[in-house]
Amino acid sequence: MEHPGLTPMVKIEVVVDASDVDFVERLLAGEGVSGWTAMPGISGFGHHGRSEGRLLFNERTGPTMLVAVLAPEHLEGVVEGLRVFFSDHHGVLFVSDVSVSRPDYFRS
């Protein structure tokens, strides 16, 4: 749905293990994504049972969610990189259409 004065963009939400965050961030940066938000220590339930959130003395395990808004032309590389990545790693990727008021803010 088009909104007047807004520009269509794509939002991705990626949930991966904390040890894999570096890869996802480098992929996003390499494909021209201008920024993202990381939420470490999230918890949940899925194919591999319950996942616990933040640990007191270990910041390198547990699920992390990364959220990014990017221009549609940057999506191809991100999706292909994550598709190959998910062939042997746990995690999920959600892609959705969003609109933003400041498109330049999301372009590198």
Partner: protein, 1295 residues
Amino acid sequence: MRSLQRARLASWGLLAAASAAVAGVWLGGSFAVSAGTVRWSGTSATLGVTVDAVSAALLLFVSVVGLLVASFAERYLDGESTADRLGLPLVGTLLGTALVLTAASLPVLLVGWVAAGLALCSAVGHRGDPTARSVASRTRRILLAGDALLALAVVVLAVRGADLDRASLTETAQGLDPVTAAAVAALIVAAGLVRSAQVPFHRWLPETAAAATPVSALLHAGLVNGAGILAVLLWPLLVAAPGVLAVTAVVGAVTVVVAGLQMRARPDVKGRLACSTSAQMGWMTLQVGLGVPAAALVHIIGHGLFKATLFLGSGSAVEPFLAHRDQPVASGESGRHTAVVGLGVGLMAGALTVVAVASEVVPWHGPSTVLLLGAAAVTSVVLAVQALTADRALQTGRRVFLAAGSLLALAGYLLVVGAVDRSLSTTVPALDWPDVLGVDLGLLVTVLVFALLVTGVTLDAAARRGRLLRLRVWALRAALPPRTARNRTPFWRTRRGVLPADHATEQVTPALRAGVRARANAAAELFVPTWGLDSFVATNPLGGLVHLPVDEALRHAARLRGTRPYASPEILRRALATTSVPGADPGDRVPAAVASTSALAQLVDDETTVFLAAWSDRGEAPWGAFGAEVGPWVAWRRTLGPGADRALGARGLSERVLALPDRADEALAIVAERLGLSADEQVEYFAQSLGRVAGWTSQLARQGEHATRDDVLELLALRSALVEALVAADPSRGQEVIDRGPDDASTSSSAPSDPAAVEAAGLLAALTHARREPLLRHLRAAAEEQAAGAVPASPRPDVDVVMCIDVRSELLRRELESVGAGRIRTLGFAGFFGVPLRHVRLDAADGSAQCPVLLAPRNDVSEEVDDPARRARVIADRRSQATRSDAWHTAETGQLSPFALAEVSGPFLAAAALARTLAPGRGRWAPTPSRPGQSGAGSLEAGFSEDERVYLAEAALRTMGMVDDFARLVVLTGHTSTTVNNPFAAGYDCGACGGNGGSVNARVLADFLTSATVRARLVERGLVIPADTVFAAALHDTTRDTVTLMPTRGAVLDPRLVSRFESDLAVATAVVARRRSSSLPGSPPDPALAHRHVARRALDWAQVRPEWGLAGNHAFVAGPRALTSGMDLSGRVFLHSYRHESDPEGAALEVILTAPLVVAQWINAQYLATTVDPDGFGSGSKTVHNVVGRLGVMAGARGDLRPALPRQAVLVDDETARHEPLPLLAVVHAPTERVDSIVGRHGMLQDLCGNGWVTLVVIDPGDATMRQYVGPGRWAMIEHGSEDASGALAPVSAA
């Protein structure tokens, strides 16, 4: 070892003989011993020795170096199976050199000369491994070629009927026609130039870093002085050919410049020292060429002593990096101020030199005197200016004191050189320069040499400012020759040109590059990040393979990296012999790892590792890191050009690589396509490529953490592009591209089939059972007592001692509990005491992260000194020390300053080195520990909010189950170690503190728990600490067996309690010292000497095993101490305190299983893998280590980074292991459901426990039943008597 003992005794004998010779010459002048004279066709030679002042002085020098090296080697090579092969070559080198120095005639000298060279080559190759053998062989070839020139000179003289006695050389020289004289002089000089590694024969020397450190010390101190020794001994023959000497001077000056420039690019300490030796020898050659053999004599002795000390101490090369981090930030003077100071000091030094010459303190030899003394003046000016201007914050008095010292040293140098020169002037004929085209040849040579040196200074200055990229690249690549003949292509025969490919026609879509990036990531994940030597913490070398069972992971690594796939059956058999389990019959030995040695792969590996070392340098190379601001792909491409094409033997290679995109992922995508790698093949190929440089891959993975740049991806692009371009240049190399290494039955991923592997598996199972069964049996019995309520409640103890879970703590805990029975209780907790912090010293810019690498430090803790006067003094002392070391470094790495520096400082350095070698750990000569215990100068200022203090204090207490029943005194005991000259010092420190000492963390937590506010807040949270409970911190030194109590702000300790506790500590640490000492090789049999022995051993710079560290670790127990206190665990078990009843929700247990257990598993896996293959997974023998970039080590002159334990950390000798390669047994005293729930929430734990990396056993507190984890939600009951010899545990029923 007897062989090295004999070498040491022989050195003492030589020293006695040399001393007698010096005394004899002093009292009665020269003397000779002859066995007769050989006459042949008009020529004659005396078979005997003759000793004059020069030979006596040199003999004394050689014997001192020999004694230093032999004494050092005896302890340094302890446990090396090849050490016995070294004694004879060492003695041979010394006696050969002694014969050269005292030969009565040239034939005798020649015999000594050749013998010394051959013996030294045997010493270089004594380890017998392929690298050592091939380096020794190449060195032998080039040295023999030089020897042939010397032999030819002798033959020419003999044919001419000359008298070959040294005593008659002046007459012999006068009797030669000019052509013969020139030919003989040229042959002698050429022989000397080869042995002194002068241009163009200089490249053999850096390669010899493959030899053990003491051998390098002997080589660089003694044998390499050949040109100077020949010149001093045969001076009459040389002085008869001034033209030859003129050329000699120019060659020396060229070497000073060339080797000096190469030295400045070297990021490895031994490579830098080797290039520095070539340059120093260049200076000596220059002194000879300019007709001043007296100066050369001073240089031989001064530099020899200097360089021997630096080589023997090369293990401390990482210390400047640590020192720089901890020192107050220096603020230098402005450039203008520095120039004014430089002018003033320069005038003073110049005036001093002029006065020395004018007053004839130093004899005048023409313009060359100006040049040689000028360099000495430059040295003192560099030192003085550096002292005066490096740090504006240092008091003027201290600065002037340091500067005055350097001018005094100059004055002393002038006196010594003058005295030697005058004493030789009566026996050494002066050089009489002829005129050339009406100009004095000496003046011409001096001017030419001066011009060359100025060129060197100018090039150096430009390179230091980041210019002259090509020069830097050349200096990096040219220092070492290619290893294989195929890669040794002369530049005029470089392979035919390759055309640059037009990548514009090769479309790289975002999907293509992102796919390659993901596949590169899959390959990179097989290599775990590793830390530098400054914070050397354990990691699992197989950490990328924990999704596989342990044995499969080992086989997979074998295929990928060429490592051994299983432990040596011999080692396992010997270990098993120490248990009550009968051993198996002897079987085949494990095959050595077969690493691929294709010429293409070696060329790519050498290019990669040389570049990466320079790129990631942290201060070793005087020119600094190369292109560190960009990734390796981008930085490496800057090094390409015609020079790279020549070095790599492929014309057009650079153009082809430079035509690739700047983006590493796009370049890699194109190259993978050109190499014909399908998507499926890419991961395998990438992993193989990274596996050849696994050490660097792991290091880059660490360095690049949290950065958006992917350095491992860039490394892959670099290696793959290089391979592709080399194949394009020579398609016949295409078959070498996919180089899968060994792929036989022993390394395939399927079950092993070779008999040795099967035998090793059987032995390992038996050994595992033998070690685990008694522990489990005891734990079960203790748990049954607890469950039955048979353990009486103990009264409140006087002291609770909380120590790190580190296995070394158990020994001390046991002894403390024994000596203080009923009064002292002990607990185990992670050694960072739950406080992740960064410790910053007074006024320092940076600090050390004091927490496990699983965490990032959240707060800074600053060192503080409350007394302002003391604070100022501490800072001034540190600034002085920093200024001294900076000034030294500047002078040592300058273009002209290193020469006089070596001559002046050599004797002092060697005196200290001799003292610390002959009387290790004693007196004021003992070296300063690498990492002083971090006690700091005073109090600590912790930057934590009150909420954080309460939170961290509560978390620490609850995690270790310390929630009630506090003792009157609680001592939080961090640990550290004391070692010297040890690149792996951090590996002995507290891993939970990031490879640092743990006192700061202990003090911070003690401060928190002393605070009344924190205590009040803890009461609100249900934690009541009695008012009379006092917290204190302490530091346990695991190498010296000492425990030091440290101040806690606001805590008032009961003096009687403390006094009694300190008495208990003294008794307990003495017992521990006895136990540890008896397990260390070379320790005294008398137990009464144990404590003193371990203390001295810690400060012994020749000691490669200051302690055993965590060797032997095999189990982890989380539970109350009562479970384990009845059993002597011999310092092999990690003990974490845990009380299940105070942790109903399992929060504390989750912390324990996801952090301390994980770290313990890393440690266990690192020791396991190192024992399986000390050279493949470990860093090999310490004796050949070469610290590179102040970051890690490599073996010898080149090769991969070795970020892992040395073999001396796990092996007593090649067939006896101190560590046994058993995976970790983890025993948890908690309800099974609680543990199951935690494991179920963490895939990491499921991998570790499901694949045999950790055998997880739960003892249920309710009924003392034991269960072993077999998979998610599945546990197997372990019943009494179910264990059998085939494995540790035999589950009989599923629960």
